[in-house]
Amino acid sequence: MHGAHATTEAVILHSQALWLIPFLPLVGFLIAACAVNAPRLVKVTSPLAVLAAFAVALSSVATLLGAPEGARVSQTAYTWMAAGSFHADVAFRLDALSAVMALFVTGVGLLIHVYSIGYMGHDESCARFFAYLNLFMFAMLLLVLGDNLLVLFVGWEGVGLCSYLLIGFWYENDDNAAAGKKAFIVNRIGDMAFVLGLFLLAWSLAPAAGGALDLDFAHIEAHAASLNPGTATVIALLLLVGATGKSAQIPLYVWLPDAMAGPTPVSALIHAATMVTAGIYMIARLNVVFALSPAAMQVVAVLGAMTALFAATIALVQTDIKKVLAYSTVSQLGFMVLALGVGAFATAVFHVMTHAFFKALLFLGAGSVIHGMSGEQDVRKMGGLRTKMPVTFWTFLIGTLAIAGAPGLAGFFSKDEILYHTWAAGHPWLWLVATITATLTAFYMFRLVFLTFFGELKADHDVAHHVHESPPVMTIPLVILAVLSIVGGWVGLPEHWLWGNRFGHFLAPVTGHPHLAEGGMLGEGALMLIATTLAIAGAGLAYVFYLRLPGLPMVLSWRLKGAYDLLLNKYWIDEFYDAVIVAPYVRLSTCLWKVADQELIDGFVNGLAGAVGANGDLWRHAQSGNVQHYALAFLGGAVAVLAYYVIG
């Protein structure tokens, strides 16, 4: 399934500028942190820092494009840790994979920074917001540019920290703070597995590498072949658990919907476009390890397909506009994981990119709606915004068409490529699950569009009176993202169309070429037709449900009350985790403290002390409280002892 890597010596171009890409946003963070009381300054410096990083990224990618295929730009800043046989540098690499990531992270990041000037400009903690956002950019760029797993891990945990800080940005609300903490801790569970995966990987490669413990990507690629399949499976599964945390897959997805407590630009940048794709990036980066274990790949594929379907069903009935988009993100990440699992690593990254465009667009559009609706997020209180917020409407519609897979738009090409690879890799059942999910996606996204922008506005008078289109600083990023949501997929056309799959070829030196059992235009064309037809059916059904017969959903929710409640309450997974993990853990901890520590151990110690003698009284008398006495006695004793030894 997985093709051989280019085994020829890779050309390495040494650069002195790569570090600037993550470092410039760090400077932005430091400025913002110091000028926390000068929001007007920060509103300029923070987006500028990202713009500068974007510019450096562009020029670095230009260098890369000018080099022979398979080349990479690299820079070693300094030795970070060296202990015994372990060695890790702070080093950066820009190859095809990190080039794609770095470009869309800085590019989309820049747009979202600009949008935030409008969205967050009036918040009293606006400077703190930009500080966190810049810090996030720093961490995310470390993650994608790091040349070894340790630098990647710094970014990995760093983006988690920023996510924690930004979810709890409005910290005075207990729920937000709790959601932030939940995100961090759930991610930490994934990170624990991830770290164990690193240890097993490093120690397992050591024999083939002369005992060296090293986590450089070049080192891993060079020695991965020495792993035995069993070890490779365990490593891959541990890393996968790490990815389920960061990329919100079953069973660790639970933090992402709650993360919507953060300001909406954060949801767009971190919880849709960039951070949550870190797990996908990591697996694509370590594709040599995963490819060694067909069993682990199978698990990856099944997990991705399950998550995609599972989250899509929840999205069908949510009423909070951001929650729908959150579950949609979980579902789309499931698609990407599915692509990884069937060995289509480049396709997964392709979907990462197109999803970044249209999901950032959708979230920012939702933010614009919320902004215009004075903070309202419940779609049942919206409606008819089409005319009042035209730019938001049209761009949101383009985003919806893109995610639903309308032919020609960005999501169409990346999603169909996933479906095709799934089918071609010999997973018809997973293909079916994914195709059904794609149908559901079209349904719930059009449901959102119809409820929000069509029909009658259901808000109360005050809100309705204030509804307005957002300022240009917010709508211009929407327009740019809408354009990208249309044309962003054209770099990865099916193999025999026009210029073909440029994107896949660009990534091939890193991700390899997937060899497909059955190729040709016909297979792919037929699958495309099926998916497109079903997507239209999904959208049509939403039209019937929410525009033609608006009473129907209500009736259905009564008829199918059990299923409806199950979905509305998100399968009670949070409650399940609370009852099975959280509550017993707290009870056990309390019990350990009260019983083991205080009763057993301390009881024993105090009993022993009592038995040795009721000398407490003695001590209390000795403790007269006069320090002069103590000091004198101590000094006298010390002098006497010393004198005895020195003279004697």
Binding site: A83, G84, G158, Y171, E172, S589, I601, Y630
Partner: protein, 523 residues
């Protein structure tokens, strides 16, 4: 400075100056008139600062390319018994000395406002404590080590007993009895060890460098290791010998807590690394599964019990049990990664837990409570305090980029080579640590301001900023650029690992030698 010979540099007194300057300062403070409160404060701070500057000279002159002890000072003390005044530092003790001399001036500066009664006596004990701790880190004569080890207890006993809280008498006596009992056994073990050396035909000496080579039967090693290990395990403290710690911390004044957690606990782990492990390598190997088990239990248990503490200081105290469990895990990985990580983690814990106690002390000064429930929403009234608190919290949970991560990562990486099971269980500490720290942080700093009194709290004062900035700076520097520290430790750590491997091989040889004799005896 041609005196900085790596080994046997005679005539160099820098190390003695570092050890005794605080003691000189202590008596000078004591001699000041009682009314001279400000003078006592300034003198104490000045002497601790001079000590710190002198100790920087140790680092500057330290040669990182050798495992030998440096700045060696060797003079007969009680010649009849072979007891010497023998001091020296290597890559292990150098940074622990620096940690001590770094934290003490900060604690003294903090205590300017914290200590109200018997001010000069407090500083007297604080400085004496510093001499005791530095001495214990650099003494290479076992008797001298024991003297410093015991000297250290006295001032800490008084600091808790006089300046402590409500139950200070109980706490200080518990502290003293726990540690004293355990260390008496160590004294017996030291004497036995010296005796064994003499029986082998060598002259009487307490010089640990010579005692490393004493040939002992596995049985003897076992008993002696147990006696040393008990003394050190109480100090660490290892589960289940830890219950003196929460009481001592809760009752101790802030300065006492910082020194206790920041430095004194490390004497336990240092003792394992300098004495118990290399003196008795075969016994160490035999005890490793047992110690690893206690270490990982400590990690998980400490984290769980910390989570449910209503009192901030107790929470930090139990977190120390968890963190020191990591240190023990790294030491008993018995490879350079684990041990260097463990030493690094000792420094990290000194910084981050020291800073946590300082922060708790600062808020206690303002509100006279340490209960988590009495706070909430502190970000609003005191954002600077909250920001520093956050950074220290992140350091404590091992966020990459800050110091804690480097230690934890190397420890776990090293431990993975020793015991995968122990590493897997220990790595849960990454999650559980985040749970108790972030939950605490959320309840103290986030949410609405729940108590009227907290709305008018004063943010960090200049003196408090002066105390915190050096610690925060080190937390960042040690996270971003650990290399200068790690590379200085490396030769000494490799020396210890090599000695232990050699010792274990010899232990096997001794056993093989005795086995025929034993069989003959059986016949």
């Amino acid at each position: 400075m041609s005196g900085f010979e790596p080994a046997g540099g005679t005539g160099n007194v820098l190390l003695s100056l570092v050890v005794w300057t605080p003691m000189i300062g202590a008596f000078l403070v004591l001699l000041l008139p009682r009314e001279q409160v400000d003078g006592a404060k300034r003198a104490a701070f000045a002497f601790s600062l001079i000590t710190f500057l002198l100790s920087l000279g140790l680092w500057a002159g330290f040669r990182p390319d050798t495992a030998e002890f440096q700045f060696l000072e060797q003079h007969p003390w009680i010649p009849d018994w072979g007891i010497q005044y023998l001091l020296g530092v290597d890559g292990v003790s150098l940074f622990l000395v620096l940690l001590t001399t770094f934290l003490t001036p900060l604690v003294i500066l903090f205590s300017f406002g914290d200590v109200q009664k018997r001010v000069k006596e407090y500083f007297f004990f604080m400085l004496m404590l510093e001499t005791g701790m530095i001495g214990a880190f650099v003494a290479l004569d076992l008797f001298l080590f024991y003297v410093f080890w015991e000297i250290m207890l006295v001032p800490m006993y008084f600091i808790i007993g006089i300046w402590g809280g409500q139950r200070r008498v109980y706490a200080s006596i518990k502290f003293l009895i726990y540690t004293l009992t355990a260390s008496l056994l160590m004294l017996l073990a030291i004497l036995y060890l010296v005796g064994a050396h003499v029986r082998a035909g060598a002259p009487t000496t307490f010089d640990v460098r010579l005692l490393y080579d004493v040939a002992l039967s596995p049985r003897e090693q076992g008993w002696l290791f147990a006696a040393f290990a008990l003394a050190f395990a109480v100090k660490v403290p290892m589960f289940p010998l830890h219950t003196w710690l929460p009481d001592a911390h809760v009752e101790a004044p802030t300065g006492g807590s910082v020194i206790l957690a920041g430095v004194m606990l490390k004497l336990g782990t240092y003792g394992f690394l300098r004495f118990a492990m290399p003196l008795f390598p075969a016994a160490t190997a035999a005890a490793t599964p047992f110690i690893l088990a206690l270490a990982v239990i400590g990690i998980v248990y400490g984290a769980m019990v910390a989570m449910v503490q209503p009192d901030l200081k107790k929470l930090v105290a139990y977190s120390s049990v968890s963190h020191l469990g990591f240190v023990m895990l790294g030491l008993f990985a018995v490879n350079p990664m684990g041990i260097q990580g463990a030493i690094y983690q000792m420094l990290n814990h000194g910084l981050s837990t020291g800073a946590l106690f300082l922060l708790v002390g600062m808020i206690y000064e303002r509100r006279h409570t340490r209960l988590i429930a009495d706070f909430g929403g502190l970000w609003k009234p005191i954002p600077r305090y909250a920001a520093v608190f956050m950074l220290v919290t992140l350091s404590s949970i091992g966020l990459p980029g800050l110091n804690g991560f480097v230690g934890e990562f190397l420890i776990l990486l090293g431990a993975f080579g020793q015991s995968r099971l122990a590493t897997v269980v220990a790595s849960s500490g990454l999650v559980l640590g985040a749970v108790y720290m972030l939950w605490m942080f959320q309840r103290v700093v986030f949410g609405p301001v729940r108590h009227e009194e907290n709305t008018t709290l004063e943010d960090l004062r200049p003196r408090e900023i002066a105390v915190l900035v050096p610690v925060v700076a080190m937390i960042v520097v040690m996270g971003v650029y650990p290399k200068p520290f790690l590379e200085v430790m490396e030769p000494s750590v490799k020396g210890i690992v090599a000695r232990m491997e050699k010792g274990q091989a010899r232990g096997v040889a001794v056993e093989a030698e005795r086995a025929p004799a034993k069989q003959a005896g059986d016949v």
